[in-house]
Amino acid sequence: MTRERFEQQLHALLDQVLVLGSMVAQAVHDSLDNLKKRDIAAARCIYEADVKVNEKRYAIESGCITLIATQQPMARDVRFLAAILEIITELERIGDYAKGISKITMLISEETLDPVLVYELEQMAALGLDMLQRALDAFVAGDAVIAREIPSEDSKVDKLYNQLYQKLMEQMRIDITTIDRANHIMWAAHNLERMADRVTNICERIVYVATGEMKELDTTEGFKVGLD
């Protein structure tokens, strides 16, 4: 007895999780690109397309619940489905960050942006997206070792965020006319910092599927500024 149909259904769900992962990764990448180019129309497209991310998340959630109800999964199968329910929530929130950055692009359409600050935002996004891609690869491979390694890289994103935060605070202290613009940039940075935190949560679930161990993966390194 091999439960071939169940196996196929689990694989199909995994494929859909990867599709959702690609959707939100692309949205984050494009939202930064639009911020850099100040492309309001493209930013609006991403803002409005977030509904598709949400729909995909609900479709996967529904698929998980159906399998739980009809297949009575046990052991690794139930851990896998429970992990998917958590991971899609994290992915959907990453999609929300892309939406948030797009909103900022729309808000600051008339303002001049410091290219150095934009470059630093792009660095944060690149690090976070790289973590996300490797986390999804580890999920496919069921690799707890890689999943345990990835969260330590969150400190690099935090470091960039802290640098950017200090720089923007300094700007605001020197010139209060920059407050609006700096505040917007800070929110974009905050969204990217949170994205890396979400990847850490995804890694925790990958470890859970592979080992059954459910515990927080430590990413604390240094002082974090701003809100969590």
Binding site: R3, Q72, A75
Partner: protein
């Protein structure tokens, strides 16, 4: 009950029963655990996970039948089994 046992052995107690009768048996088992230790033999994974506090998984090989593969808390055995054979059995991937 007449002989005041400490342990009651139930061999497939809900075999071939309808869901309502099965539920009544399982509720009775829960009530009896207040005074007795119950050992239940079942091939129904859902029933084992519903009614028991601890689960033992027995299998057979070419030489012998009924050797112990794994024993542990039911919550552990059905979510994070330690033995590959148990994993394969509870997930329906044996054979």
């Amino acid at each position: 009950m007449a002989v005041s046992p400490e342990v009651i052995l139930m061999d497939e107690p809900a075999s071939a029963l309808d869901p309502v009768a099965t539920l009544k048996i399982e509720e009775l088992m829960r009530e009896l655990t207040e005074e007795y230790t119950i050992i239940v033999v079942t091939h129904n994974m859902q029933q084992a996970s519903r009614v028991s506090d601890f689960t033992a998984f027995f299998s057979m090989d070419e030489d012998r039948a009924g050797y112990l593969v794994e024993y542990g808390a039911t919550t552990q055995l059905f979510t994070v089994p330690q033995n590959k054979m148990t994993e394969d059995y509870v997930t329906g991937r044996f054979g």
